[in-house]
Amino acid sequence: MTSDRDRTDPGRAEKSHESAVSTIPDGGTVNTPFDVVSEYEETRRDRLKKLYDTYVYAPISIIKRDWRARIGFAIVLLYVFTATVGVYLIEPTHVTEGPGLAKPFETWEYPLGTDDMGRDLLSSTVHSTSEILKMILSGGLFTVTLGTTVGALAGYKGGVVDTVLSSITDVFINLPGLPTVMVLALMLPITGNPYLIGVLLTITAWGGLARAIRSQVLTLRQEPFVEAARSMGVPSYEIVFKDIVPHLMPFVVINLTNAARRVIFSAAGLYFLGVLPFRNHNWGVTLNLAYSGGAHYKTGALHWFLMPMIAITGISIGLILLGQSLDRVFNPRVRARHEKKLAESQLDEVEPEDDDSETMIGAA
């Protein structure tokens, strides 16, 4: 917004109410504010600029300031880069590309060594990244969307809706993750589609989030600002998604990264057991091959295990760091500090040290 814009003068409206003695310093009186239609105008550019400030500039500058966020972002970006560009830089590997169980760091042909069939481990790690990321994406989004929606609806609507949704949620909370996935994989015809597998892996994971969201919503819906929205006749879905859910965002983001971590852990674990169908090699499959190939007792085979292990651990470190720092992006106090327009005028109050607030008085 530019400061040289003409400011509307509400006092322009005719002053017909003499009775009111205005105690307001600097306001003037108006007949009724519903008469006032000023020529206040905001151009499309202003609006775009504001949107940019809110959704692009502020989050980026918050992230730039936090070391955890920087490292986390860098790690996750590295994986995304590997999955998208890396696959073109490094050729896919095949059996007997090199000698069996070649040591790492000895040749540029297969810099991280080979497995017992002579496959290049770097290449196979790189080429499994995109499948895993797809699973993470679908599993994470599935958990968060379903968990938040069910939890928020149950908490806000209450009554029968709550009873039904909570009972379903409770069943899923009690289902043990890996065994359920195994039973489903055994009983249902499941293909190796990574998106489908991502959902399958988190089929029991959303329950915990839904329960936590529900209990937070139960508190939030008593908040005055929600009651005010109700009294203004704002429809329920709008209250839930515009008033309540933004307050849960830090929590949701942490859970998104947790769900993503869970997808990697269970995917790799189940592939390690060899109970999930797959189309291409991935980290878990490599672990499985290494274990059944006896890499844990053969000498000189340790690197076969290490590559997938490092890949799994690396991305989950990235996700944890990101989850711990991203909540700041949703904090209005932090946001306000980082938005350009307000950054200059130090509007943020420093927390008062002398905290004799009187807000507790006479809660009726």
């Binding site: 509307t8 205005s22 000023s38 009294s231 040290e353 004799d356």
Partner: protein, 722 residues
């Protein structure tokens, strides 16, 4: 930054100080520079006096309390000297004590009561553990100590066995606060520092605790430092009063002196801005401006920005403490203390009878029938029972139990009562936010809950009701969505109800309203988040948001109690002004009779008194204040502190027989007030009084047998002998 001292050492009348504070300064290093939250304060605390410290929030008064116990929270740094002089033995330099000595000094010599009694107890341990662990930590005899604890608790009108065997969350706020007082006295300290000990409580409870404090002070031979924002409250209690502004004392003197001859402009303005029952409402004026930030205290006299007397000398030179009067015990830090009484008169309008104002007040129009009509409204909540309660009846909280009330156009009704009496629940029922379990709520003749379920007869939609009835909450901070900017929050009602407006129209309307309530430049405010506004500004935004709906009735739930005392009158004035402009009615909810009186008198409205879910008395403010008929109204009247300019002293004995409100799950039979009523007789325990005309005045009703001269009550034996 001010550099002078506030020194009040020359008090000839008393020369036995129990604590001497010299040049106490507390500094905090902050990003924006160093801040002094206590600025070079020196004072003597005389033995066995009650010393009142009055200041608004952020004036540094809590810091003073922490300093006395050398308990300033890190990273604050306390300088200066604090000397404690026990009755016998050597003086103690508190700031020089080592860790172990300090541990003994605190609580054994000087104890403290916080305002946050709600959170002062360990939530997972019983009350008795708190007493026992305090005794053992200080190597006191536990049996003897617990005997004392029981005595203390019963001195505070509670059942020792029950209290000691409870978990903190099982006690009510008032009981917790009294228990905390008992806990603070368990080691028999000489000095008790009380930091807003009653701020979170109801007036009746506040007042009861204040009278208990006087009794306890005598019995246990205490010196009390009583810190509060509430000048009238401490005026009843304290021997001397000191007023704090911007982290230092600006005036100090005996209570009567301060009340009658206040000489600092701030003190005078504070006295004028405090709503009370005695002075005419025209005399109440807000203080313009706001208190300074600790980093940025104005040069010279820190009050000069808001002071009507300020000139260049005040900007340049920090005033020293000028003695006022001849006694030598009254001092004020103002260059123009002599001119202050003339420039800021307290009494000029005292000749004018406050009653005259009412005739000119607009008052409701009753011609068209009631706007909102509530009939025999009941709201019962069910409490969850435990496992073993499965077979017993569930506990039911009778929040509202059979209240009828008509609200007209341009009407104002103020509901007063203690917390938990159901006044807020009733208010929410009246604006359709709470469904009554029995009775009816009608808007312009239509039952709104019928309308919601069945659509009524088609003449009106529930949407229209929703639009007509609005709410303004007590805590403005949580009434606004913290994640939305002011502009976005204010757009909601316009988007919902004025779809014909485009973005620019909406914005211009919002801008003009913001400026109208004094928030300029509005374009700047629109883009702020709620946390970037002060409490008063937040409340204005909430108020505008309700007004943008163009409602017929607004429930204002304690709209000013979260604000600083000096801002309350201003906010109430704004609400009254907006009422006239928007042609709306108000249902106010307040626990404070002075605020209720201010609003009702200024608007020609009524005051309704609610007790345990029932409306016990209703009428014009003149009747409720000056001619209360129900004993409960009389008790509230007693509990409302008055600025008695003629000299201190409590307004007589407490008119309640029991401090605590009975359990609302199991309200007393007959008249619900009979357990506390000083006039209760046999018949009150069995028969339930209905509201009836209470005096010759219009609209004055009370639900008490005493209003009926021929009632059998007068023959019934009294039950108040115990």
């Amino acid at each position: 930054m001010t550099t002078s001292q506030s020194t009040y050492l020359d008090d000839p009348t008393a020369n036995d100080p129990v604590m001497e504070i010299r040049n106490a300064t507390v500094r905090f290093g902050m990003e924006r520079g160093e801040s002094r939250v206590l600025d070079d304060v020196s004072i003597d605390l005389e033995r066995n006096e009650i010393f009142g410290v009055v200041g608004e929030s952020g004036s540094g008064k809590s810091m003073l309390a922490s300093a006395l116990l050398d308990a300033v929270v890190e990273p604050g740094v306390l300088d200066g000297s604090i000397t404690y002089r026990p009755q016998s033995g050597e003086p103690v330099d508190v700031l020089e004590l080592n860790k172990n000595e300090l541990r003994q000094f605190r609580w054994e010599e000087v104890a403290m009561v916080f305002q946050g009694a709600m959170s002062s107890f360990n939530p997972v341990r019983k009350i008795d553990t708190h007493f026992i662990e305090t005794l053992t930590s200080h190597d006191y005899d536990v049996d003897e100590g617990m005997e004392r604890a029981r005595q203390l608790i019963s001195d505070l009108y509670m059942d020792p066995e029950r209290v000691l065997d409870s978990y903190p969350h099982e006690l009510s706020g008032g009981m917790k606060q009294r228990t905390l007082i008992a806990l603070s006295l368990i080691l028999e300290p000489d000095v008790l520092v009380m930091d807003e000990p009653t701020a979170a409580l109801d007036l009746l409870m506040q007042r009861s605790i204040v009278s208990l404090i006087e009794e306890i002070k005598e019995e246990y031979d205490l010196t009390i430092l009583f810190i509060t924002h509430d000048l009238p409250l401490v005026a009843d209690l304290a021997d001397r009063i000191a007023v704090m502004y911007a982290f230092e004392f600006i005036e100090l003197g005996p209570t009567a002196e301060i009340l009658q001859h206040a000489s600092h402009p701030y003190t005078r303005l504070l006295l004028k801005s405090t709503p009370n029952l005695a002075s005419p409402i025209e005399a109440m004026r807000p203080i313009e401006g706001s208190a300074p930030d600790p980093v940025n205290v104005p040069s010279g006299c820190s009050f000069h920005l808001r002071c009507p007397l300020a000139d260049e000398q005040c900007v340049d030179v920090d005033p020293r403490a000028y003695p006022v009067g001849d006694g030598g015990d009254h001092v004020a830090n103002c260059h123009y203390w002599e001119d202050a009484p003339e420039t800021i008169p307290m009494t000029e309008e005292w000749d004018v009878e406050g009653i005259d104002a009412i005739d000119s007040a607009p008052g409701p129009s009753r011609a068209d029938g009631p706007l909102v009509s509530l009939e025999d409204v009941e709201v019962h909540f069910e409490k969850e029972g435990g496992f073993l309660d499965f077979f017993s009846d569930p506990d039911t909280v009778q929040a509202v139990d059979g209240i009828s009330l008509d609200i007209y156009e341009n009407d104002v009704v103020v509901l007063v009562g203690e917390s938990g009496c159901g006044k807020t629940t009733f208010g929410k029922t009246a604006v359709g936010l709470q469904e009554p379990t029995a009775g009816s709520v009608k808007y312009k003749g239509q039952d709104i809950w019928d309308l919601k379920r069945t659509g009524g007869d088609g003449s009106m939609s529930f949407d229209a009701v929703r639009r007509a009835l609005q709410i303004v909450h007590q805590d403005p901070g949580s009434a606004l969505n913290a994640h939305r900017r002011v502009g976005t929050s204010l757009e909601v009602p316009l988007k919902r109800w004025n779809p014909e407006l485009d973005g620019n129209d909406r914005k211009s309307r919002i801008v003009s309203l913001l400026e109208h309530v004094g928030m300029a430049p509005a374009e700047d405010y629109i883009d702020r988040y709620p946390h970037q506004l002060s409490g008063g500004e937040q409340q204005r935004v909430a108020l505008i948001r309700a007004m943008l709906m163009n409602p017929d009735l607004i429930l204002a739930d304690e709209p000013v109690s979260a604000l600083d005392v000096s801002l309350r009158v201003e906010m109430m004035d704004l609400m009254i002004e907006l009422q006239e402009q928007f042609d709306t009615s108000y249902l106010f909810v307040s626990h404070d009779l002075s605020n209720a009186r201010y609003i009702a008198e200024k608007t020609g409205g009524r005051i309704g008194v609610v007790y345990l879910g029932e409306l016990v008395e209703i009428g014009r403010p003149e009747e409720i204040i000056h001619d209360p008929q129900h004993p409960y109204t009389q008790a509230l009247r007693w509990a409302t502190p008055e600025l008695d300019f003629e000299g201190g002293g409590m307004g007589g004995e407490s008119p309640v027989r029991n401090i605590d409100v009975p359990d609302p799950t199991n309200p007393p039979s007959g008249c619900r007030y009979h357990t506390r009523c000083p006039e209760a007789r046999e018949v009150c325990t069995t028969e339930h009084p209905e509201p009836r005309e209470a005096s010759a005045a219009d609209f004055h009703e009370a639900a008490c047998f005493r209003t009926d001269e021929r009632h059998e009550y007068w023959q019934s034996p009294s039950i108040t002998d115990d």
